[in-house]
Amino acid sequence: MTQTLPARDLAVDWPVALYVTLKEASVGLMAYVPDAGHSTLINLFGADKDVATNVLTTEEEGIAIAAGAWLGGMRSVVLMQSSGVGNCINMLSLPVQTRMPLLMLVTMRGEWDEFNPWQVPMGRATQAALEAIGVTVLRAETGDDLVETVAQAVTMAFDADQQIAVLIGQRLLGKKKW
């Protein structure tokens, strides 16, 4: 007897849907500085023996690793929080100038229901900084929109040689619990 799986509720199951989307797109490497909003995706990739995962000491490392992976024919994704975008700026000249595919998934802080004022300046600067160095920025505020946005960002990055950052709105992630 075939079992019918419950329909996925993307409002809460978006990390699983993103994992499936990235796996179907043959992403074979994931690099990350942790964020609570990325924790499910990090766990899913970490348990996947077919994906190389790299924990980073600073986010710019992931940009360089992604470039090396592409030189070797492998698709990758870099996960970080908005505060880490500032660390990446000069290293982003590498994929921008070489026109190598880049897919960054950035969880936002400092923009919605934020309690920590120290998160606000970089949260405010994230999109402008990425666009200033030449990265295309897409945003999503709901789980449905996020999954669709990442699916097409995969095409633009790996088939059209673009450098793409998808910003995951803090409104979607919810208030940090601690």
């Binding site: 710019e60 070797g72 100038q97 190598m100």
Partner: protein
């Protein structure tokens, strides 16, 4: 030791290794030994060379990857030594050409000229093998070491003379070098 002589020895014994170079003089040194499709030269992205090597090593586990960079470039990526050690690639070797100076910008003394030993840092991080080499005879021995398979990443510091040799300039067209390198691996352009 003379940096060009040391690099020429390493490249003569590369034995199919893919080479990534750090910006500045290491890129010139590798280019001076002969421009090749399986060289990937960086002209910027300071701090990125060893990490480009890591991504390449993970994408091409059957190939050996040799990163040739400078002390200033590797110092900017101090944390990368931790990231690479945790990733533990078996096919990544990092060669640091250490003249203890920032040679491109007026020969200011770098941290390695003020007591920081990058090979000791790499050893503390857990690299499988590290050493500091001071003459060309030791580089000959290193070439033999590099032919042997490793169980994890290796880092070797080569103490070289602080001098600015005539520049041997690799192509600056970043997409050209990328596409040429990928074609060497049988990978198509967009």
């Amino acid at each position: 030791m003379n940096r060009r002589d040391a690099v020429a020895k390493l490249l003569a014994a590369r034995d199919g290794a893919l080479v990534v170079t750090g910006l500045g003089s290491p890129s010139y040194d590798v280019h001076a030994a002969g421009d090749r499709d399986d060289n990937y030269y960086l002209w910027g992205a300071m701090g990125g060379a060893a990490l480009v090597g890591l991504g390449l090593a993970q994408a091409q586990p059957a190939k050996r990857i040799m990163v040739i960079t400078g002390d200033g470039e590797q110092l900017m990526a101090f944390g990368a030594l931790a990231t690479i050690s945790v990733a533990a690639p078996k096919n990544l070797d990092i060669i640091v050409l250490d003249n203890q100076h920032f040679g491109e910008t007026g020969m200011q003394t770098s941290h390695t000229g003020r007591g920081i030993d990058l090979h000791s840092i790499a050893a503390a991080c857990g690299f499988t093998q590290t050493a500091c080499l001071r003459d060309l005879a030791e580089v000959d021995a290193l070439c033999e070491t590099l032919r042997q398979a490793s169980t994890g990443p290796r880092l070797f510091v080569l103490k070289i003379t602080a001098e600015n040799l005539p520049r041997s300039l690799p192509p600056r067209d970043a997409t050209f070098v990328k596409t040429r390198f990928r074609a060497h691996l049988g990978l198509s352009p967009c």
